[in-house]
């Protein structure tokens, strides 16, 4: 079993000086600049050993001008989890470091978030649209996306 969010916060902040973590319920809110440092620590160090990133997704909050990324981490080694990380990005310019170099499993999931939400992942090996076609405009999972006129003919994909 993983310790509570408060204990996780003090444990991580103790091992990584300069990193600030804010617990919100069971969720750990991580600063965008600290994401890779925290993830690397969680992946490689006891007692966490979070070797498995189960889920990567985003939540759009246009009223608060932010775009949150949510990571659900588990450990296959210790069979514990989930540890939920949330990263709050500026909605006008959502850029964050990619965790794909740490966990291959994030590769397609980050491509999906890029495709549907328009978040840029720096350091991703192959950041392309995955569900929509190349040349599609806009990011359909954003809350302010206007659904196109169903009767208008679609441009033919290349």
């Amino acid at each position: 079993m993983l310790p509570s969010a408060e204990q996780l916060k003090s444990s991580i902040e103790h091992s990584l000086p300069g990193v600030a973590i804010t617990p919100e319920g069971a969720v750990l809110v991580v600063e965008p600049k600290d994401l890779i440092t925290v993830c690397r620590h969680l992946k490689h160090h006891e007692p966490f050993f979070m070797d498995y990133v189960a889920n990567v997704t985003a939540v759009d909050y246009p009223n608060e001008q932010r775009m949150d990324l949510v990571y659900h981490l588990y450990s296959m080694h210790h069979k514990h989890g989930p540890m939920t990380l949330r990263v709050k990005l500026n909605r006008a310019r959502p850029v964050v470091a990619s965790v794909t170099p740490l966990w291959r499993g994030a590769e397609f999931q980050e491509r999906e978030v890029y495709d549907l939400f328009g978040v840029q992942f720096e350091g991703h090996p192959d950041l392309r649209r995955i569900l929509m076609w190349e040349g599609f405009e806009g990011h359909p999972m954003r809350k302010d996306y206007v659904v196109e006129d169903q009767d208008a003919p679609l441009p033919h994909p290349r």
């Binding site: 997704t57 296959m76 939920t84 569900l131 999972m141």
Partner: protein
Amino acid sequence: MDPTTIDTAPHVERELLEVNLGPQHPSTHGVFRMQATLDGETIVKLKPVMGYLHRNHEQIGEGITYIASFPFTDRLDYFNAMSNNFGLALAIEKLGGIPVAERGEYLRAIMAELTRLVNHTAVIGFLLNDMGAFGTPLLYAFREREKILDLFEAASGSRMMCNYVRPGGVREDVPEGWLAQAKQLVDGYPRFLDEFEALLTQNEIVRQRAQRVGILPRELAISASVTGPMLRASGVNYDIRKVDGYSIYPTCSFKVPLGTVGDVYDRYYVRILEMRESVKILQQALKAVPGGPAISSKGAAISRAPRTFRPPKGDAYGRIEAPKGELGFYLVSDGSPQPYRYHIRAPSFINLTVLEDLCLGHKVGDVIIILGSVDIVLGEVDR
């Protein structure tokens, strides 16, 4: 011309050939495309292209009530409607704190395990089809699948789009005599598996085609978030039924079959063994089904009036061991009757991450069976 010079003679031009496998191709199990680059017959690069069946399921889910999403989840992995319902029900229960009726808990676990039998039986049939055994194993598999679909129809009214599980239990109780019928089918299932195995497991052609092909190393499987039988075929002991201990699984005794090599053959054989374990779970569960209501009163109330269900602000991630791997639902509530965010972690989508790694260095014919052994359903990949 001197015959001895022919072998060493002129400089032969070699160039790479780009081939599209799919999107309209029977081996891709739907509309899915693989952009393969070939050197001779060997794969040197392979990029999966998906999205042909994309309908933005998640956005649809954000525009309707929580309960109204159930029929849509049927269409994710359309072989396993019951498990898809189950996953969403778990996430909603977590979000809204809904108690579950004990009989309902048993019934939906029984449905989920029957679904596993359906899925694994069918996928092995398809895999053999991909290997070139046209028809025969697939029809044996479909013969058994039909019997289970009859049970689904009796319980839910539909063979494939079941829409049966609800938060708090199941939509309605099974008809009289259903449990006895299910028991009869389950007790007869090992006989079918024996027959299936007699044809396939030691079959020289199957072994030649499947062994040492498409090996997924243990470390890559973990780091690439591969789940389900594919992960366990690579020797990682991770089964969410054991790890999370949800539903009735802690009360059942069953083993988690593991592979050793992680090749196509192991993925085939782990599925056979998993079906045998599912039969054990089903036999225990069918014996222990308690009486009482099939759905808790709170679950019944929100199913009847979905707009009255306003879960407290917050989020929840519910996951189950679906036949293809970890099926997760991530829900964010803003206190309204509709989810603010509705996300699906689809196992076959994420299992495709390693497709290129599995195929490199193999021949085109092997790509087909490697894809078959990954077990994808495009309704779930594309959402």
